[in-house]
Each structure stands twice: as C-alpha cells, then as structure tokens.
Symmetry: D2
Subunit: 159 residues, 4 copies
C-alpha cells in the first residue's frame, strides 16, 4: 500500500491523550504508527521499545508516534482494561488507540484497512497523509531512523 | 523464612498440568517456585526466561519448576483468561498456578503466606519441603544454578 | 568542527582495499569515518558492530564506511600486525586505515587533525567533503541512521 | 579427559599475580581454568565475561579462577605485550597465564596437554586435582554454576 493515502484510524478508545486523535488533524506531521498486541512477545521485546526510542529521539513537533492495539487473537485476554495496566506497567508515554473490533471476524477494522499481516507492524505516514513504509516484524533502527528522517526532511519541499 | 517449612500452595487454577499439584506430593523433589505477574516487565524480561532455562537444564525427575501467578495489583487486568493467552504466547511449558485472591486486601493467599515482597520472586524448596532460598528481583544464573545443584545433591544425604 | 572541511586522512597502511583511499577521491559520497582502537571495549561492543551495520544497510554507491585505527595508548600492543588479525577475526569487511603515529606525542596525526577526544568516535562527512557530525562514545542507531540518510538526501540538491 | 588428573600448567608468564601459580599449590581449591585468545570474539563476548562473573560470585577461598592465554593462531598478533594491554582494558582481575609455545607446531603446550579443541574452553578441576568438566564454546551460566557448586560441596566429603 506504499504511496497510497493512509486510511483514517477507526478506533474505540485512547490512552495517553486528552481526546481522540485523527490522522487528518495530524496532517503536516510525520506519523509513526506502531501496531501491536500486548501479549505479542515480539512487540514487547522489539517493537514497543523501538517506538519508545523513536518518540524519545525525534521532536514531537515533527513526528507523532501512535500505538495501535490491533487485537486479532485472544480477544478476551487483551481487553482495554488489561491494556490500561500494560500501558502503565511498560511506561508507554505516547498515545495508544484501541482498534475497533471487526464485524464479521477476528481482524479489527483499522488493521484490516491497512492490510496488516500481524504484529508488530510499523507504518510510516508522510506529512501529506500517504503511507510511505509498511513493515511486518522487527525493524532495524538504522533503517527506521533513515526513513523517518527523510520524511521529516520533506518539509523543506512542501513548506 | 529460609529454613522453615514451605507453606502449601493455596491456588484456584492450574495451567500445563493434568490436575492440581501440591508441595506435599512433590516432596522428594527440589521445587523451584517462580512467582510472577503477567504484566510485570521484570518478570517477562528476566524472571520467566530464567525459569524456562531452569526447567530446560535440570532433569524433571529431580527439579519441579512451578510458576505462581501472584496478582497483587491491576487484578482486573490479569485474570486467568488473560493469563491463559500469556502462557500460550510466551511458550511457558512448566505448570503455572493462579494464586487465590486475598479476603481482605489485594495480596493473594500464597503470596501472603510466603511473605513475598513483589514480583518476580524466586523460592527454592528442598526435598524435605523446607524453604532454602527466598529472593525478590532478578537473580543471577550462576548463583541460582549453584543453589539448585546443592539442593539436588542433598539427595545423597537423605537417600 | 562541524561544518568545516574534513582534513585529509594521514595514514600509513590500509586493509580491505586494493590501494590507498583518500577523502578527495571519495568526494560525492557520504563518508562514515569510524575511529577505533582494537583493544577498546566500547569500540568492540558498540562502535564497530554499528559501523558494520551501516556498511550492510546503506548502499556502497552512496556511503563509504572507513575504519580508522587511531592508536593513542598501548601503542606497542596494537601494531598493524595485531590489527590484521583483529580485522580478520571480527569479520570487518570495510576499508580500515592505520593512523600515522604522531611526531611528538602519543596522539596519531589524523586523530589530532580531527580533534577526536578518544575512541570510539564517529565522524560523518558530506558529499562536498565537510564534517557534519563529530561524536565521541556510543551512538544511537536511530539518530545515526537519520543523520546519514539526510546527508545522502543532499544529493538531490547538489546533483 | 574428565576424571583424570589435570596436567600441570606449562606457561611462560603471569599477569595479576605476585608470582607463578601451580595447580599443585592450588590443591584443595576448585580451579576454574578459562582458556582464551585475546582476539577470539567468542572469548571476548561470552567466555571472559562469564569467567569474571564466576570470580565475582564464588569465594576466592574456595574457587580459583585462572585465565590461560592459549594462542594457536595469529601468534605474532597476540604476544604478551598485547595481552598486557588487553588485560588492562578489559578489566580482567583474576590471574592470567601465557601458555608456553609449542615446539613443533602452532598449538601451545598446556592447550595440547589438555587436548583443547579451541577457544573459549572451560575446564573445571576438583579439590583433588582431577578434571571434572572440559567444554569448548559458550557455556550456560546455570550449568556452570551448578557444576562449580557441586565441586565446592565435595569439601564436606574430603574435609
């Protein structure tokens, strides 16, 4: 889906925000969308720590890091009440949204709209709202840093 | 409490067993009791991986590794249904018991009986049923290996 | 020294090249100069593995990774013959130069010309031959990846 | 060679001791003999850190940790003068001996006498001077801790 407009988030709840966020309102910033499940070992060991590093290193004025809790299995085990404790215990400081459950199956809405294959997934959205990176599994920090920097740099062209 | 008889487990549910286990029935084996909470980062990062290594290295005929889910905070976030998914996703193969909720407070029964200060806690119980090690926090593998080996070796004296 | 022209390398020997390299001849590429000592634990544990990752991830047509062996202590312990074995055993595949010994002190010539404070040091040189980053100690992969990417992107402006 | 008497060390130089050590003089203690080469990545990454942990955890009155520099390749790169700097830079505090060069080949004397296959090698010698463990490659801390503890415990039998 790289190069196409990023589907709007379709979520039911937010943590670490004062109100709901939308990609539309974030237009102008680079958005780092990190999709995870709280009981996914790869997310806990590599994806979420990387998302935290990204949020710590890149200025919030340029880059918005958003966690997306895309539960597609063990739904009853990863309800929002469990996620709230997880976000607290793992000291996740960036906004986290709960993907809206699917109507006819286990895959939640935003996950389906993005065609994600599982968790962790990392999606980079440029300042104009287009998907520029869409990856599944552990991502290299050097590569991720390079890609985010190039999207930030595009400001010069568009500004 | 080192040197005193290990209180019997007071639990409500078991995973990875065909039926309930008791310390009484395990008498004659060294018991490695690893107390954890599924949303405790120190348990996920160091305590549980160590318990898995202990279970992999020491013979099951000599050493029984038991996980004890001692929920003392975020109770509604770490119910048995969430624990079941956690045990599956983190590939925990040894028996895991759910500590019985406390009557008058957040501390569950077995955790209280052992006077545990938090999670992760590691308790080593000798073949005669006495507590020989009672530690809180990350434990060194060299030390843990040494202590378990000495308890196994006591077989020679008692046999 | 950031922003100033990068001093030419003043070295006595090369490994992993068919002949001597010069910054002048590399003009047009981004140069990642990694200064190290083979017996510096921080270089072995973080600096050199990062340099290898940079060489693996960024295309050689855009980025030249160069190791610079800047011996400023234990000179007799880190001679070129020892370095040759080190380069072999640690599977370092990028070009490595041996900094020329200083005339009147322990600091070798190129290290002095760059004003490096110790090892590991990471210097990023842009396509026009100017120093754009000059850091001492372990460097974050996200940041390093971002900085290298931005220097690569400058091709568009200059090209 | 497990179970047989440990050959005496045949070495040319010592670091971190006031004079030469011999296994004969160490009889009564458990000896942890860690054979390494200073340019062996597996030794630097796993073997030597483990030896340092062993020296830190077990009491010196019971366990003697000895490093043995068994150079069997790149001899000219790993001379004692280079080893001296390595021992200093890597903060190795336990005694380190330099194995005596072989007469008719690259394998040094003590390495040959023990039949070591390479580095790192870990040899455990009991209080009576017999080899009780002889391993090549990275060793698990839990296992090593268990084996050392059992050898320490043999004091009770012999004392």
């Amino acid at each position: 889906m790289t190069g196409t407009p990023a589907p709007e988030l379709d979520v039911v709840q937010w943590f670490n925000t004062q109100g709901p966020l939308t990609l539309a309102a974030l237009r102008g910033k680079v958005v780092v969308l990190h999709a995870f499940q709280m009981l996914c070992p790869g997310c806990v060991q590599s994806g979420l720590p990387q998302a935290k590093r990204i949020a710590a290193i890149f200025p919030a004025s340029e880059v918005a890091v958003i966690g997306l809790h895309t539960v597609f299995e063990h739904h009853e085990a990863m309800t929002p009440v469990s996620l709230a404790a997880f976000v607290h215990e793992y000291r996740i400081g960036f906004p986290v949204a709960v993907d809206r459950p699917g109507e006819n199956g286990p895959i939640p809405r935003t996950m389906a709209a993005y065609g994600m294959r599982g968790t962790p997934s990392l999606v980079l959205i440029d300042r104009a709202g287009n998907i520029r990176h869409h990856g599944f599994g552990a991502e290299d920090d050097l590569k991720a840093g390079a890609e985010i920097a190039l999207l930030i740099a595009e400001a010069c062209k568009n500004g």
